[in-house]
Every structure is written in C-alpha cells, then in structure tokens.
Subunit: 337 residues, 2 copies
DNA sequence: TTGTATGCGTTATCAA
DNA sequence: TTGATAACGCATACAA
C-alpha cells in the first residue's frame, strides 16, 4: 500500500501539512513557487492523495454506482459504457453491481450505498414485483437516483426511458403489414412497468388493425435459456403463430433456435421482430428485424442527469422523464414471402 | 447523505461509541444483550457504517478494480460478470474502468488506484506497446494485480490466459483441412503478447502443413469498424484468400459485412473462423465457426487468484499462470463446399 | 502566504 | 464488559 502521505511530503519539504494540502487544491492561496515545489516533490515521491481520507473529510466520494439486472448482456454493457464515458470525463469512478434480477440484492446494494460510498446511483430495476417503498424510507437522506430503462413507476425520481409503447405499437403494426394474422407476444417481467407498456403497444396495435386479441398468444417466458427454447417449440407447434414479437433480445434468439429445431422457416412460416440492441442483427440468419434501443445513449443521458442532480440539486425536477426514441429496423426476418 | 453514525447510535442508546462499534465486529467482547440492543437500534435508525471512515482506519477497502480495454463488448462483459460473481460472494465491491486502449489512461487508473481506493486490481492490458515499467516502479507498494487475457509478459504477476497458441494452430489447421490454401490472418495489436502468440500459432500451422507463408496475407486491422470493412473488401478483392482467421471477434463480423458487400459467399468462396465468445454464433448467416474462450470463467479464475493474494499473500507464486482452454466449434462458415 | 489545531466516522489500545 | 482517547490522512477555520 502506498504510504506516502501529506505528512511525509511536508516533512520532506519542510512545510506544514496544510500548505502541502493546499497545493493540490486550486482555490487556496499559496505561492506559485511553493506550489510547484510541492507538486514536483509529490511526483517524485509518487504521492497519491488518499481517497478515503479526503472523502471522509469532504463527505463525498466522486463515485457513482450502477445497478443493473445483469452484466454480460449486450444491452446493459452498452449502457454501462455510456455511463462510464460521462463519469470518467467528470473524474468520477463507477461501482458496478448486478442484481441478477433478485430484488433482495437490489435492496441490499442500495442500502449499503448509503454509507457514503457513492454520491449517486443509476439503476435499472430488478425484475420482480415488490415493495419499492424501501426507497422512500430513505427519504431525505436518499442518494440522488436516476432510473434508466426499467423503472419503478411509484418512485419519484428522474428517469431515462425509451418510447416503448410506440415502438411496440410500430413493431406489431409492422408484422401486420407484412401479412401476419396470428402474432405471438413473448413476455418476461410482466409485472414491470416496461413489460406492461410494451405489451399494451402490442395489444393496441392489434385492436387498431382489427386483429382479434388472443390471450393464448401471450407467451410467458422464463429467465432460463434452454427452458425458453423448449417452451417456444411447444408453443409454436401448438399455437401456430405466423408472427412473433419478442419483448427482449434474448427471446428473439430463443425463437431462432426453436425455429431451427422444429424446422420452421423465418420469415416464411414465422416472422420475427424483437427489441434488441445487437449491432450484428444484420448478420443473423435471417437478418433480424429489430427495435433498437439507443443503449449507450440511454446510459449517457442517465449519467448526465445524475450529474445535474449532483451539481445543482435544486435545478432538477424529480419528476423529469427523458424519453429517447428507439428505431425500427425491418430486416429479412419480417420480409414478405 | 446518511447521517446516522456511531455517535448518534451511542447517544440514542446511552452507550459509548466504542461499545457500539464493537457490536458490529464479531471478535470483540461484548455482552449478548448489549449487542442485540445495539443491532436492533441500528436497524431501526437505518444505520450504515461509513465505509470511508472504516477503510481509512483499517487501511483496506473491500473493493477490487477491474481495468479492461473496452466495455460494451461481449467478451469483457462476460469476464466482468465472472469477476463480479466472485467478488460479490466475498462481500467485495467492484470498480470498473475502461481504457479504450489508451495506454495513458491505464497508467493513470493504476496510479490513482494506489491511493487506497482498491485492495487489488484485475486487468486486461491496453493495446499499445509501451513502457510497462511504471508497474515495477510501484514496486513494494504495488497493489496485488492479476492479469487476464491480455498481459504484459515483462511484468511478474499472476495471470490467467487461454491456450491461444494451440487454439490458433487448431483453427488454422481446421481451415487447411477444409481445403483452404490461401489463409488470411486478420490482426490487431500485433505488439501485444496475445497478438504475437496467436499469430505464431497460425504461422506454425501453415509450416506444419507445408502451406507457404505469405506476408501479404497478414492483414493489419484498425479499431475502427467501417475502416476495417473497407480495408477487408480491398484485401479480399486483391489477395483472393480462400480462408480467413480472425484474431478477434469483431474482425469476424467485419469479414461478414465485407463479404456481403462484395458478394463473396461464405464458406464457398471464403471460409471464416475467429476467436469469439458470442453465444449466438450459431445464429449467424452462415453460422460462424469459432474458437470460444471461456470468458466468464477467465474472470472468475482471475478473481479467485486475486482473492488468494489478498487473503494469503505468501501463498501465491507471482509467476503463477493459469491457462484455460478455449474450444473450437466448427460450424457452417468453414464447412466444406 | 504559511502554520496550528480540529474534526470527518471509525477502530484499537488502554484503563476502569 | 464498557468507556475514554488516540489515530487513520486529509482539509479547513483561524491564527500568525
């Protein structure tokens, strides 16, 4: 561990610790000469100011925490990348936590973070329906918090989301226009706001285009890859949909695998479109039609919002909601036969 | 910010701060009764021990730092996921840094981290050839450091890598066995150890199978997506290779795009294999043959190694090197025509 | 412009 | 078993 501290520096220079300390702050009065001497010596001795000491003193950490449902996922990686860029530019560090969709983990992370370890939190909430009130209980002393993508509607704090309802509507409409009559909707997290919104877009599009809504065609998927594939093979065989709209990326992949297995041709037998931020969607077989969310930008925007809260708390309306637009990319997987 | 501290707790309970502090530590002598009283009150008041204060006091942070060349990349996300799992189980937090392959950033991160903010570092080094001696200069006080995947050969510290030489050899051999005679090698980071090793496997396989090595077929790629595609279109047109071996995932994608553009058929005109941890490689058009690195396991192993160093420094040989095996998955993109 | 003294919240040492 | 006190490294109010 680095044991060069301000005291040793001061000793080496025959100065007081306060003078040395001042050299590292911009505002303080200190002669240029002394400052330069100090900085030079600091460099020579490889001095690194102890982060914990200064943060204990200043009561802030120059650190923000990111909580996501999963790492190792294309979408959240991109979002984290976006956040990291902004944070890094501001000289902030990022702590990363993954809940694996376990609500208790989320609560535990959040509570723990209120010990000064982070100045603010950016979170995409965990998948389960639960009592979010733990967030309100932190009340006055709650850290600045920004939701992105997956939010709790009943918690008042800024959020960055995408136009999910419109996107779902458009995606469903797109399938209809490509000739689909029996469109399955592959769901997860139905209890989450984002799940509800997406499903509503689907339902309303059906209504608008006078396609009867069929409850059976809402297929509830799990978090398990293999399970989903089996489940989908069954569903496709039994229900014979001619279109599939997947509410999350990985269900599109599962759909592909299922179709390969039971020899359904995409798009001839089944057209597929899904939410996905996968850069290589055009390389899939067949190229996957997607609703692409601006993942990195979502992260970037959330970070910017959080920094606004940190820098000028009164300036930010807690009810503010930024909506970024996803984009529909029709590709082969929904092309007309 | 949470302002319930040990002092307030003590006040509320009519105890001294030291007694309260003891309640949160296991070893100290304290009556069960008092302890329970304290813990109950702590819960009620929503007390969170200040991390900075205790870490300043204890000189450790229960935090490890991860430095990777890029976020938002399938491979490193998986590795981070692996690390996070281990760290989380140990009650450690993770700080994540992305160098974007900029060496100066790496140096700056590392130096900064030696201020007590992290107890150890797991790093996949940045792409440029440079003077790594900055790591040695930290010498005695250098934080425990574990390299994974991309390492500096001249720095003595534990590392977790994959059997890159063998994998490259096998991949090249596979192409040869599928009938390729003119095999291009798509390179980046030739100066990095990992780049050299992978290329050597390619070269030696050619030699072994008596295929003349042709310098022209080593194609140097950049970090820019579009540039690479253009560059590859040119190269494929001019050099007419019948096989391509990509040393990193994204070059396989670039190859696909290039082939689509100039109407080369994979695998008829050109067989493609590449290093990649993409779970959906089988879904590509055509399904991509890969050398799949156990990314998450790499992260997991690196984390375990780091924790060994943290828990029992003398137990770990700094020269230790763990080699995990990648696996070759032949798929359509290299199938015989 | 520089130095002295104090406190941030915690833990450890020592005394009671 | 509990309490008083010092110290971790730094930053600031105040004094010089």
């Amino acid at each position: 561990m680095d044991n060069v501290n301000i005291k040793k520096l001061a000793q080496a220079l025959n100065l007081s610790t306060s003078t040395v300390s001042r050299a590292f702050r911009d505002n303080s009065d200190i002669s240029k000469e002394t400052k330069e001497r100090i900085l030079a010596m600091a460099k020579e001795m490889n001095y690194q100011p102890n982060h914990y000491a200064s943060n204990l003193r200043e009561q802030k950490s120059k650190t923000i925490a990111i909580i996501v449902p999963e790492l190792g996922n294309n979408y959240f990686s991109l979002a984290i990348q976006g956040i990291e860029k902004v944070a890094s530019a501001k000289g902030y560090h990022i702590l990363v936590y993954s809940t694996n969709d376990q609500f208790e983990k989320e609560v535990s992370f959040i509570k723990h973070l209120h010990n000064g370890r982070a100045d603010g939190i950016i979170m995409s909430v965990s998948g389960e329906a639960n009592d979010h009130n733990y967030l309100n209980e932190l009340s006055k002393k709650r850290l600045p918090l920004v939701f992105f993508d997956r939010v709790y509607e009943d918690i008042i704090t800024p959020r960055v989301i995408t136009n999910d309802y419109d996107s779902s509507f458009s995606a469903t409409k797109h399938l209809i226009q490509q000739g689909c009559k029996r469109i399955a909707y592959l769901a997860v997290n139905k209890t989450l706001s984002i799940g509800k919104t997406r499903m509503q877009g689907y339902i309303d599009a059906l209504k608008k285009f006078k396609i009867p809504f069929n409850d059976e065609l809402i297929i509830d998927c799990t978090n398990n890859y293999k399970e989903n594939i089996e489940l989908l093979k069954q569903a496709f065989t039994n229900l014979k949909p001619d279109g599939v709209f997947t509410s999350v990326e990985r269900l599109a992949f599962a759909t592909y695998y299922a179709c390969y297995d039971i020899k359904l041709s995409i798009p001839d037998d089944l057209k597929v479109i899904g939410f996905s931020s996968l850069a290589i969607a055009p390389l899939l077989n067949p190229a996957l039609s997607t609703i692409t969310q601006p993942a990195a930008e979502l992260g970037k925007t959330a970070a910017e919002l959080l920094f606004k809260m940190l820098e000028n708390p009164s300036d930010v309306d807690l009810k503010s909601e930024v909506i970024l637009n996803s984009k529909l990319y029709p590709r082969e997987s929904t092309s007309k036969v």
